[in-house]
Amino acid sequence: MRVAVIGCGAVGSLFAANLGTLDDVEVWAYDLWQEHVDAINATGLRLSGAGEVVGRVQATADPAALPPCELGIVATKSQHTSAAMAATAHAFEQGSVCSVQNGAGNEELVAEHVQRVIRGTTFPAGHVIEPGHVGWDTRGDTHIGPFEPSAAPMKDVIALADACTRAGMPTHALEDARGAQWRKLIFNAASNAIAALTGRTHGQVAEPPTRDLAWAVMAEGRAVADAQGITLDLSPEDLFDHAARRDVAYGHKPSMLQDVEAGRETEIDFLNGAIVAFGERHGVDAPLNRALTQLVKGKERA
């Protein structure tokens, strides 16, 4: 089986390196960072931290170099999904493509370029240490399922879940993966936007004076999920409190805070902005998520 990882940053590298340890999977990675690509091709893709792995991966910054693949895993930042898929769609004419990106709205963008799409949500996290070397910070499960409007066949979903699980990335193939996706989206939207605006860590966001605000933001997300008929697999509020524990991720700076501190564009459109947009489509107003979106958009311009 041939799998291509589109966007080989921290999360993409966790999938690529682990899959690159399997004998029956040929792994390709597409990324625009040439030094990273060269290092991967020279010495393999290395992970350290939660697991020590060196995977065999063929990396390229040239989309034309990608051969036809049975499966794709999209792990770019959400704001780069469209450009990356436009460049690489040719490799998936006969394949299924799974988004493991943050938030909601990426599968819709992937489906503009390929026919068979898989919805995905992943919890493992990492950070790039140097070209060819990624720190694996936290382990966690991945949930995948067919993206209804352009659904991949269930056998492809199962094949991807099986390969990832065998490679050390526990992955669940579900008929409906929306519950996991919206649980993580609701959690992320509250934690990321409030952290980005206040400069505080996840654990601090879960405390006064923003605790009630975080819960109100999550309640809006729940209402939007309800209106779509989505049953959350777990409680985002419980997840929020769990992550806020001192022995879990109290001091973690959510990625949107890291983005605004570095002056980068954020994923706000795919988090709070997506809750507002899906809410509008289903007749549910989400005024706090809208306000947070407007504020973060303003901060991106500052």
């Binding site: 505080r200 605000l213 303003g298």
Partner: protein, 314 residues
Amino acid sequence: MAIERVCVIGAGVIGSLYAGHLARDLEVSVLTRRAEHAEALEADGLRISGKSDFTARVRATADPAELPEFDLGIVATKATQLEGAVAGLTGRFPGATLMTIQNGLGAEDLVRTRGDWPLLSAVTFMSGVRHTDTHVEYELDTETWLGPFAGTATYEQAQEVEALLVAAGLRARAFPDLRPAQWSKLIFNATVNTVSALTDLPHVGAFAARDREVDLGNLVHDLMDEGKTVAAAAGVALHEDPWEMNVHAVRRGETLAAQGHYAHVPSMLEDVRAGRPTEIDFITGALVREAAKHGVPVPLHTAMYRLVKARECA
């Protein structure tokens, strides 16, 4: 009352602009927070540049016990430093009238706990830039609005202070009741200051942009609508529509920017950038408390209040 002696309490940008202009014709004393600030003012005088250009002699001290008698006291501290500054006036200066110029609501009530002086409420739209302890640039030569507070002073007294400020080269306007103007500015400030403090944006064109749903101007508009609902419930007919004030200020800022001036940085953004406590409790906090008093839900201002409080701790 014949006003010949003025005391300015608090020598930040706004206090310095009053002190400097008034000291050209009147006897002016200044109460500073820091002793070295007072010493510098005594030694060098107070230079005003920009829209005005002169250096004035003022008496200055950081010790309230050393303040000479005065007829008019202008309380120009930040709202966060008001309590400490007026503590030293407790029970003294019985013949004086005091004027509060703090942002938000509640300064007059706080001053009243220290003495039964007649009080004038004031809001100012002036702005400036502090270059040194003894040099302040007069940037926006906009008006100070003032009026009697809750029957403690008269409209005539307000008019007298208006005439004094105008004679000193400042712009001022007396009102029989300041609440409509005070609330217009309260809603304006509760919105513009918090949005600016959270986004890091000076008061620029984005605050009035409403082309797309995600544009910041929509949030500004929604926050102002919430504030207007509170004003209506409190029985205050606003003097000016805060949204119009916002659009006007943004356009004015764009004109100044085209002439090479910097965009106006609201004080709450200056405070969070400097890691200082903000005036959030007197501005948005006051609005949220008024809303609760009148049973008006203000979810957006409540959210802004919590976000700014959290940003203060970061």
